[in-house]
Symmetry: C2
Subunit: 198 residues, 2 copies
């Protein structure tokens, strides 16, 4: 291979563009121009846009799974810390102005996603909601979080909140997302001292 990581560079650039403009907001031409390639070169590595999009989501899923497993092991008995890390994920993206986090982004563009990409996206969403439910359940069991109703439903609602907040933050400012996360912690009656370390 003359340039072993062109494929990776394409994927990286696609990710950047997806986070900035969404799935249907970027084109092969955009990638080609940024990387000094021609349109057809992208098609060589990713025959069609759905392949590229699916590769992007699958990489996200792999990254997320690794991070989740790592935190589950490292902070096995500290659901509050794990929740802090979970809610901090979008901040990595939102800190760059004009960038949305994948959470909200994919949900916003969901109508345009090709079938295989949609499937991968649903898998990612489900994995994240399941993790959140697990954290909440343990938090309540240990007495460090308080909430009413089923943990899964609470996780779903909290998830919707984070997703909505990350979308709003992308078009306003990051501070908005932080306010919502603070409210989430307040609602869960997590004491402020722990919240400070966020």
């Amino acid at each position: 291979m003359s340039n072993p990581d062109t494929k990776t560079r394409i994927l990286n650039e696609a990710q950047r563009l997806i986070h900035a403009y969404g799935y249907q907001g970027f084109s092969y031409k955009h990638i080609a121009e940024r990387l000094g390639l021609r349109n057809a070169a992208i098609h060589y590595h990713f025959p069609n846009k759905a392949d590229l999009g699916t590769a992007y989501v699958e990489r996200l899923l792999t990254q997320f799974s690794g991070y989740r497993d790592h935190l589950n092991q490292k902070y096995a008995n500290d659901p509050v810390l794990r929740l802090q890390r979970l809610t901090a994920i979008p901040l990595n993206y939102l800190s760059t102005p004009g960038m949305t986090c994948p959470l909200g982004m994919l949900e916003a563009d969901i109508r345009f996603l090709p079938a295989p990409m949609l499937q991968a996206t649903h898998a990612l969403g489900q994995a994240m909601r399941a993790w959140l439910a697990e954290i909440l359940e343990q938090g309540r069991a240990l007495g460090v979080m308080q909430f009413h109703g089923d943990a899964k439903t609470k996780a779903l609602a909290s998830w919707a909140m984070l997703q909505g907040a990350s979308l709003m933050a992308a078009s306003h400012d990051v501070e908005l997302y932080e306010q919502v996360v603070n409210q989430l912690f307040t609602d869960l009656r997590i004491d402020n001292a722990a919240q400070e370390t966020l």
Copy 2:
């Protein structure tokens, strides 16, 4: 005027298409085909796409303001009922499969909105959040709702939740939105009897 309401028919069709596919997901061609007109006829009534989009949001804002004022008058002393009506708004849209409610839709497409449309959208969002904050504040004052922290922040978080939920519901099913609304009511410690009437 030979056909006085062509303009309105265009706006109606644009609304339908925006709710189904988003702002950048519909074209003049789609409208023209549905209405048996030519592309240029749309341009005659709405010189460019931004004009059409802005007209759509402004009509939404007018409709919302009217509805809010009406409910504020009718249920001036019943914030729970007003909250139920507010959270029921997206259901009108979500009940048709494949349709998103304007709430989530506009937020999802926000990166593509032309300036004047963006302004109108922000005005609409702010109006709805302000109304929600007002309802929550009154609810807590009357002792029919319970929550911690500032009412405005709680409104922001709840708003993010509803927005996220309406987006998710559009790609899954309405029941998901209803679950999230139920959780919101549970979190606010609103008694179940009242909730039944939702």
